[in-house]
Amino acid sequence: MTPRVVVIQFPGSNDDRDAVWALKALGADASLVWHADAELPDGTGAVVLPGGFSYGDYLRCGAIARFAPIMEAVIRFAADGGLVLGICNGFQILCEAGLLPGVLRPNASLSFICRDVSMRVERNDTPFTSRCEPGQRLVIPIKHHDGAWFAPAGLLEELESRGQILLRYEDNPNGAVGDVAAVTNEAGNVMGLMPHPEHAVDPLLGSGDGALILASLLDAARDASVSVALA
């Protein structure tokens, strides 16, 4: 069964088409859904919130996009156990929407950083990392100004003890606390990450490691579609 994945297109998204391209290249039935729509298409197996600068990133990154009409449907989908992946600006939106813990702050350097970074996989028994090995080193590009994930004292330790940190930078590029590059919600069906897996699905472009993340998601979305069909 081909997993159906929708990529939400906000005004100011700019990695939406790249995400659709990468997901299709990995075998998904991927399409764009406009932010002003009220519902996700029937049969949606996973939702991707892409990178970019939704609503100009005014006020705080993701703070306004979280109120887009489609977000109510995304929040319901996540509450029902649906798989949601937020990449970069999508990660920021998920944090502001309260679907993920913490918040993304300006990089400690105040510079926009655009380069490949390396990170380690903390665990692989998740819908987002099942194609990786624990401890595996991934090289995936980042390109952001506000990528320093922050959680107040105590929260990081809680998340660590529950295994919600999935990727950590090897050489922290942005000042994120705990070197966190990717975090999930408590239920484990929503993940956000600052690196861009959709820009690393072909070794010809420097790295194919992002494909491991997206293909993990597609495996999980396929399984979810099968269990819905059987139910």
Partner: protein
């Protein structure tokens, strides 16, 4: 009714903007300690009393204008 919201980075939160401002002020010869950079939002709000206006604006802060993880806010209502 006009209200002013001051949003500040919470104490102890790394504020790289404030640090950059601080360094620039020192380069200009000003003897400064810490500088912190926040945000000002002026809003016109329909309300029949200053209390009602304050309540509405505080709700705006909770829902949108400030992120309580990293920011604190103060509301001033100009009667």
């Amino acid at each position: 009714m006009r209200a002013t919201v001051l949003v500040r980075p919470k104490e102890g939160i790394l504020d790289p903007q404030g640090q950059a401002v601080e360094q620039s002020l020192r380069k200009l010869g000003f003897a400064v300690g810490h500088a912190r950079v926040g945000r000002v939002v002026d809003v016109d709000v329909e309300a029949s009393s200053t209390d009602e206006a304050r309540e509405r604006v505080e709700e705006m802060c909770r829902q949108l204008l400030a992120n309580p993880l990293i920011e604190s806010y103060e509301v001033e209502v100009h009667g």
